[in-house]
Amino acid sequence: MSDAFEAKILAFLCNWCAYAGADLAGVSRFQYPSSLRVIRTMCSGRVDPLYVIEGLKSGYDQVAVFG
C-alpha cells in the first residue's frame, strides 16, 4: 500500500437518476475524484440497509447511496 491514504467509497447508483447523472458528468468531462466504486441498481429504493453495512465490512471507507 502507498503511504498516502486514498479514500475508497462504495456507491450505489440509481439507473434512472444518478447513474445517468454520472454518465452526463463523464460525457461533459467534469473532473471528479476517482475514489468511487460504482454499483448500478435499478432503483436506489432497492438498496437494503444491510448492503451499507456489508460495504463497510468489506473495507470501504464510506458507503454512499445516490438516488
Binding site: 479514500a7 437518476c17 444518478a18 471528479y32 475514489s35 445516490f66
Partner: protein, 167 residues
Amino acid sequence: MKMVETLLDICGIGRRRMALRWVSAAEGQLFADTVKELTKSTQELGPFDAQEHRLQLAAIEGALKSPRIRWLTGMDRHLTERGNVYNEKIDLETFQKMEREVAEDEYQKALLLEALREGPLSVREMAARTGLPVYTVSLKLNDLERRGLADLKGFEGSTPKFIRLAA
C-alpha cells in the same frame, strides 16, 4: 437509511461513514461536485478499520434484521401524519425518540449476542468486550434469557457464565 445512520451513531462508528444523496439524470455537475465533497469528507475521516469494528458491524446487521426495527422503519410519516388505527397521531419528536430507544435496545442486544459467539462469557467479560456498562449488560441479558436467546451455562468458581442459544 435513517435507521442505519442512527445505528452507526449509537455504535460509535458515526453516520459520516454513509451518505444518501439525490442527483438527477440532468445534474452531471452536481454529481461531480457531490463526489468531490464526499471524497473530501471521507479523506478527513481517515481509513475505516473494518476489523476493529467487526463486533459493532455484526451487531448493526443483527439489529437491522430484528422484527421491531423492520416494522418501525419508514413508519414515521404514516404515524405522524396519518395516525395509527386508533386515529392517534404521534408528533415527530416522540416518534424519533421512540425510534432511537428501540434502535439502542436492539443494537445492544445484538451486540451481546455477537460477543457470546466467542463462547461462554460472564457479565463482566461481556461488558469489557462490548464497552457497555455492567448494569446495561445485566438488563439486556435478562431480556435475552426471557426470549430464549441466551442462557446460563454454568459457574466458573462463583462467576456465572452465559451462552448464546441456537441461531
